[in-house]
């Protein structure tokens, strides 16, 4: 297992595409905190969120620092689908015929990769947010508790979404289809459901992450209230359930499949 894990980590480190993805995740997350600062402080703010002179406005900005989880999901998908896309699955399973062992190594590697993506995104987002806030003095203070809550959500979402990505990759196999589906789901479908059908959305990964972040944005035009989402405890359980479900999915699909 140790050897296999080292091999998986080498694949992650050697591939330039992974470094590019990490960079994109940081830029995406940074945009997620910087853009709201400018929007909330513009004279034409029609979103209904408070400006950054209020604690709710600061919450609305820094809650986005956990928003790079899409890239953790993509990283997990790549960990699995690269094997099929480039035919390396044959070599991998020849070295380790016990496929469950390979899957365990991939799940751990993907969780680690997701964690790295989310920590990097968080650092980029928070530091960019602080820099951007300098242009809009005075602003409300940024409490450590807020940063801690978002960091907690970043770490857990990175671990879980990396694992979910492996499960998706094992199920779909086609890399383009899996990544495209993940992007459409995360950025459009899930976003709309979480925002407008909270009774369902709170149980989706993005909804559970929102619950785990656990900060309120104040009154706004979207009628967003954190009270409509899961509290951090149940949100963690929901995310762990997704990790478990997709791990089982990865196992069941990969263990039985013929490699032609």
């Amino acid at each position: 297992m140790k050897n296999l894990l080292q091999s998986e980590l080498r694949k992650l480190v050697y591939l330039r595409a992974n470094w590019l993805l990490l960079l994109w995740s940081g830029l995406f997350a940074a945009l997620g905190t910087v853009a709201p600062i400018f929007v909330l402080n513009s004279e034409n703010n029609r979103m209904g969120f408070s400006g950054t002179t209020t604690p709710e406005g600061i919450n609305a900005v820094f809650a986005n620092a956990a928003g790079g989880y899409l890239f953790a999901l993509i990283m997990g998908i790549l960990v699995m689908t690269n094997e099929y896309r480039h035919g390396t699955a044959v070599g991998t399973f020849l070295v380790t015929p016990k496929r469950s062992t390979v899957l365990y190594a991939k799940l751990i590697a993907a969780a680690f990769a997701g964690l790295v993506v989310q920590i990097f995104s968080y650092v980029m987002a928070v530091s960019s947010g602080f820099i951007a806030l300098n242009f809009f003095e005075p602003h409300a203070p940024v409490p450590m508790e807020l940063l801690w809550k978002v960091f907690r959500a970043s770490v857990l979402s990175g671990l879980v979404l990396g694992i979910v990505g492996v499960g998706l990759g094992a199920l779909v196999k086609n890399q383009v289809a899996a990544v495209t589906g993940a992007v459409i789901w995360t950025l459009i479908v899930e976003g709309l459901v979480v925002a407008f059908v909270e009774s369902v959305g709170k149980y989706l990964p993005a909804g559970a992450i929102t619950g785990l972040v656990d900060v309120d944005f104040g009154k706004n035009d979207f009628n967003f209230s954190i009270a409509n989402y899961l509290t951090p405890g149940p949100a963690i359980l929901v995310l762990l359930a997704y990790a478990a479900a997709f791990s089982i999915l990865a196992m069941r699909t990969t263990l039985r499949r013929d490699l032609d």
Binding site: N3, L4, L15, V95, P97
Partner: protein, 237 residues
């Protein structure tokens, strides 16, 4: 007499409407080079994939040293396989691809330079494999197969896409491996090459074994190509 290293016992594989391999029985003797011949779609690759545990047989079994591939301890150190000219990531260099495989099986990285030398790829060590020619890819596949210094080599169409120089190189490479006493099972369409290289021959057609024996028994004084055509096309016509 040589003992049996690889054995197919009543092996069958059904894909939906296609019976790829049907009650296939054969034995590969240790220390010999066996050519696995058959027309396209005859079931060669399916049989080899069943042997390597990549495809689940519908019935029967394929054994290496008396057991399934999955039961081998450190399989890459006992069996090296080339199944196609992919098998490595195009975004990685030859060295990185070999490190990934070596680290997965706990093989010392010092072995990488040795196998790159064996397959004449020393000059392309740090080149990304997406820039490799087909011949270079085949050589890298062979290098990966040789990483564990295995006693048994299973090669599926290793000459596919090779130019004449590559084919000559492959012939000499296989002869060198054979002279070291390794067991080699090689499928190929290059019948003239096979005639000069193999000790034994297996011929499969439409999933069924049609002939097995030493090269002389199969040829019966004819060229291997003539014998092959007699046993496949003309017999099934």
């Amino acid at each position: 007499m040589s003992s049996s290293t690889i054995e197919f016992r009543d092996l069958s594989k059904q894909y939906k409407d296609v019976l790829a391999v049907s009650n296939f029985n054969a034995q590969i003797l240790s220390g010999r080079v066996t050519g696995f011949l058959g027309p396209n779609g005859a079931g060669k690759s399916t049989a080899l994939r069943c042997l390597l545990g990549l495809v689940n047989p519908t019935s029967g079994e394929a054994l290496i040293n008396g057991g399934p591939y999955s039961a081998l301890h450190d399989p890459i150190k006992k069996v090296g396989a080339v199944l196609d000219s992919r098998g490595f990531h195009p975004g990685l260099t030859a060295m990185q691809n070999l490190k990934v495989m070596a680290s997965a099986s706990g093989i010392d990285f010092g072995r990488i330079a040795e196998v790159l030398k064996v397959v004449d790829l020393e000059g392309a060590t740090n080149k990304r494999t997406k820039g490799f020619s087909l011949g270079m890819k085949q050589r890298l596949s062979l290098a990966i197969a040789m990483l564990g210094d295995p006693e048994i080599l299973i090669l599926d169409e290793p000459a596919n896409g090779l130019d004449p120089i590559g084919i000559v190189w492959l012939r000499e490479f296989l002869q060198k491996l054979a002279s070291e006493g390794r067991t080699i099972l090689v499928s190929s369409h290059q019948l003239a090459e096979m005639q000069n290289t193999v000790d034994d021959v297996l011929i499969i057609n439409k999933g069924v074994l049609v002939a097995q024996g030493t090269i002389d028994e199969i040829r019966q004084g004819k060229s291997l190509e003539e014998a092959f055509l007699d046993l496949t096309l003309r017999r099934s016509a």
